[in-house]
Amino acid sequence: MNRFLKFGLGLLIASFVFVSCSDDDNDISKLKGNFVLNEGSTNGSVSLIDEDDQVTLNYFAAANSGISLGQYPQSMAMNGDYIFIVVTTVNGAGYVEVVTATDFKHFATISGFSYPREIAFANGKAYVSNGNGADASYSKQNNEVYIIDLETMTKNGEIAVGAGPEKMIVSGNKLFVVNSGGWSNDDNTVSVIDVDTDKVVETITVKSCPKDMVEDANGDLWVYCSGVPNYDNYPSVSYTNAGISKISGDTYAVSSFDLTNLSSPGIKNIAISKDEKTVYYMSDAVYAMSITATALPTAKFIDATFYGMDVNPQNGNLWLCVGANPGKVIVYSSTAEKLKEFTVGAMPNSTTFSY
């Protein structure tokens, strides 16, 4: 009996030690599922699609005693124990809402932004792109990237960049920021920031109005540039100097592909496959392009356009957002086979995957 007791006690201690030392400890408690961010028509929301494909609408509000996310959430990212939701607002008082990754409950609100768009993480800091790129007469106005202290969840610095900064990607010790021109539609650069010094070390010229960006398996960056819109013949809208610009991760050399058939001038229009060897982008449809290709493909991968596009890094499926009220997310396989469709909140623009 005593031997059984000792064995049992030993087993209990061993399992305790094993569990305590596991690297997966956080993953066990972290929420799993696919978080769809909905800009909303008057108020944004998050829809959770769990591993059993069950959809929970207004997940943020449900987890936070009915508090609404605000007008209009633009992007969302996970970092360790927290999930960060960037809310642009319409009144020049944007904020980043921080929730805990375990239960989606409010942890902090980082305020003091005029027009926040995206967030990225490096060196124990967060970076928030901010600014609408235009002055009162819609002329170009440069903006900034704010540095966030993740210990205090407050702003503690800013870095001047181009006009209307949007998507950011961290590659090595560099933070790449696309400068879209914002409401002025007057920029065509990518700022490169050294995250050790928080200084801009390079400004790269690409096609006009760069808005979205991915990094491929070779460390090269693919920048989606929506071009300068011309509304003179509205409802027919044309775009000048739109394209996909490829930036060498080593030399920052740029090679660009013209987009002449743009009909979906959204913001989140490019994604990378699970193996990071195929770039998906939208123009008049969704196209799939090998990262070694020297010309844009002519064959349509999915013959439709969407409001946002992401790839599930676990299985390589494409999650495509249909901007409507209520919105939809349609899931396609990496072979363009339609797999699933979910009804979500209004104007979904992206999906963040937690697994």
């Binding site: 909303g40 028509s41 008057t42 108020n43 929301s45 609408l57 207004n58 509000a61 936070n64 009915g66 508090i67 609404s68 996310l69 605000g70 007008q71 809310v87 009144n91 020049g92 008082a93 904020y95 809402e97 409010h106 609100t109 305020s111 005029s114 027009y115 609408n132 235009a134 002055d135 009162a136 007469s137 509304y231 509205y234 409802p235 809208v237 009909s263 979906s264 001038p265 959204g266 913001i267 356009t305 409001y307 901007g323 409507a324 009220n325 209520p326 009804t343 909140g345 209004a346 104007m347």
Partner: protein
């Protein structure tokens, strides 16, 4: 073909009743009020028309029209915050674009948005405020699915003169001052007023959309307005001439919203409008001829600095509209109980804004044929209307309405079937990068049945009851929808059904020289999407409460009058499926009158939102808690 059918029907109708009732000119008796009253009043006999009690108009003299209607009528006010925030009114489940607001018969809804912003209209500026439920499209024109609101200043042909000043101060630094005067004799009736209003409106509220439900204080919510309204009526050799001018300017800051963080806003709006009309009426034999011409100019400037540090504007938008409206009406009295109206309109409409591709001009004309027959058993009205617009082609309109005297002086029965339409607004058609030139007019049918108990002596006083059930079908509903990416566009999106019933009971009890007026009103409405292809099929439309209750009781006792007023509104849905909680609001009022050698003086006091309820009407727009008002009205 349809037009021909209508003429044949109209002709048959006239010959049927006209032949049996032909009377010589000498025996035709036409009420003088029928000559002087606005044209449309002639056809209101079969409509559910509720005139707001003048006591209530005086009490809320310092407030805007949305406030008055919200407290006194079975209407659904949509308010983007109190004290100057955009406020529109919908009736019977319809929206603000489906409610026609008229000043002495002249439509004042915005040319660009289609709805009337009632926050720009003072409650006390008019002698009469009438609510016409389910107004007929063939008579009132575009946008009357829900009904119409008539604002008017009536002539008085008795010799009298009045000069007065009214001033009110209230919570949140609100002040209103109005100088007014009236003069009338047997040939002229004049009324004029000039007003100034200011409010800081920095009220505190519980932000239940923020973490921890903090108490926050609104900023950037200041507004000020000034203006004048002048009306003159002349009666010269049986010619009735009326003229009116209405000019006002309102500047308002637009406050921030509830939600995460403090309310922040750097938005401002300036609205100015000039309206003027001249009309002429004359009875010539059996003919009543009326001609009216009006000019309306509206200007709106909206700016948003975007941030505290921005010295310029993130958004700068100006919208101006000019309208010249002309109306000619010929009424022929076949007998004193049977009349036929032929009405023609011509309107010139111009929209000026950098939000359109250049200035936009539209011309529209309308023909209306209407006949009214009032035998002893009731009143029967048939109308036909057709509008021609240089850019849109609205459908033909019909109506048949009736009021039967089931039991004379006791019980009336009301029945009505009519069509309605709403043509697309300028913004819906021409707004840069979004307007849709292919939009069709919304259209559909309204049906209504009503039972009216005329004032009867019971419960120690006089009781009247008005019960109505209605149903309206609306096709080609216009709504802004996301089209591609971030671009939203107005589209004809399908069908809606609006149905419900409303009941109003009024009781007056006189106790010696005192009197007690009590009113109880209840409305049930079910407005839903009826498009089988839509994902919201059968779902209740946003911001349409199922239940509305209004209660008021006023006790007039010698020099004193005191009153209580309550409104109850049930929960509503938002466009995104969230819920806005219902609310119960109670106001208390009191007034004391006394005379001096030089003037009659009335002191007033009012507590609004006595229960200090935190509430919203539109989600995220805070409304004020308890507020106090004190006023004085001096008539020399």
């Amino acid at each position: 073909m349809k037009l021909k059918f209508v003429f044949v029907l109209l002709g048959s109708f006239l010959s049927l009743y006209g032949s049996g009732q032909t009377l010589g000119i000498d025996t035709i008796h036409i009420e003088s009020v029928d000559i002087v009253a606005p044209r449309l009043q002639h056809f209101s006999a079969t409509e559910k028309t509720v005139q707001i009690d003048s006591i209530l108009i005086q009490r809320y003299d310092g407030k805007d029209l949305s406030n008055l209607l919200q407290k006194t009528s079975l209407v659904n006010v949509s308010s983007n915050g109190a004290f100057g925030g955009l406020a529109t009114v919908g009736m019977r489940g319809a929206s603000g674009t489906h409610t026609s607001v008229n000043w002495n018969g002249i439509p004042v809804n915005s040319l660009t948005t289609g709805s009337a912003d009632l926050s720009l209209i003072n409650a006390g500026s008019f002698d009469e405020v009438q609510v016409i439920y389910g107004a007929v499209g063939s008579l009132y024109g575009s946008g009357t699915l829900g009904g119409a609101i008539e604002l008017s200043n009536s002539p008085d042909w008795k010799k009298k003169s009045t000069l007065g000043i009214m001033s009110e101060v209230g919570s949140f630094s609100n002040t209103k001052t109005k100088l007014y005067g009236k003069y009338s004799n047997n040939w002229i009736s004049y009324s004029g007023q000039a007003f100034f209003q200011y409010g800081k409106n920095d009220f505190s509220y519980t932000d239940f959309h923020d973490f921890g439900s903090p108490t926050e204080r609104l900023n950037n919510n200041e507004n000020r307005a000034f203006g004048t309204i002048q009306d003159m009526h002349l009666k010269i050799n049986e010619h009735y001439i009326d003229l009116g001018v209405w000019y006002q300017v309102k500047e308002k800051n637009i406050a921030g919203l509830m939600g995460i963080g403090d309310p922040v806003s750097f938005q401002k709006q300036r609205d100015s409008s000039f309206k003027a009309y001249v009309g002429w009426k004359k009875l010539i034999g059996k003919f009543r001829l009326e001609v009216k011409s009006a000019y309306l100019s509206d200007y709106l400037k909206y700016t948003d600095r975007g941030s505290a540090t921005n010295t310029g504007y993130k958004i700068f938008s100006e919208i101006e509209s000019k309208r010249w409206l002309n109306d000619a009406n010929l009424r022929y009295y076949l007998t004193d109980k049977l009349s036929v109206d032929v009405n023609g309109k011509y309107n010139w409409l111009k929209g000026i804004t950098n939000n359109y591709q250049g200035d936009i001009i539209e011309n529209e004309s309308r023909l209306t044929l209407a006949t009214k027959y009032s035998p002893s058993i009731g009143t029967f009205i048939f109308t036909y209307g057709k509008e021609w617009n240089s850019e849109v082609n609205p459908p033909e309109m019909y109506s048949f309405s009736s009021l039967f005297h089931l039991a004379p002086h006791v019980l009336n029965f009301r029945a009505k079937g009519s069509t309605h339409y709403r043509r697309p607004t300028f913004n819906e058609r021409y707004w840069n990068n979004a307007g849709n030139l292919d939009l069709k007019s919304e259209n559909g049918w309204n049906y209504e049945l009503g039972l009216v108990m005329l004032p009867q002596k019971t419960l120690g006083g006089s009781l009247s009851v008005d019960l109505n059930a209605y149903k309206a079908l609306n096709d080609d509903l216009i709504a802004w929808q996301p089209e591609s990416g971030t671009i939203w566009k107005p589209m004809n999106i399908g069908k809606t059904v609006i149905q419900g019933f409303d009941i109003e009971a009024n009781h007056v009890k006189n106790i010696r020289k005192n009197s007690l007026h009590t009113s109880l009103k209840y409305a049930y409405n079910d407005s839903y999407n009826n498009d089988k292809e839509s994902e919201e099929y059968k779902e209740t439309l946003a911001y349409r409460p199922h239940h509305l209750v209004k209660f008021s009781s006023d006790y007039l006792c010698g020099r004193w009058d005191i009153g209580a007023l309550g409104t109850l509104r049930s929960n509503t849905n938002t466009w995104e499926g969230d819920q806005v909680d219902g609310n119960l609001l109670i106001d208390l009022n009191g007034a004391y009158r006394f005379d001096t050698k030089f003037a009659k003086i009335k002191l007033t006091g009012r507590v609004e939102n006595l229960l200090d309820e935190s509430y919203e009407i539109v989600r995220f727009y805070p409304m004020p808690g308890r507020a106090y008002y004190f006023g004085v009205n001096v008539i020399f």
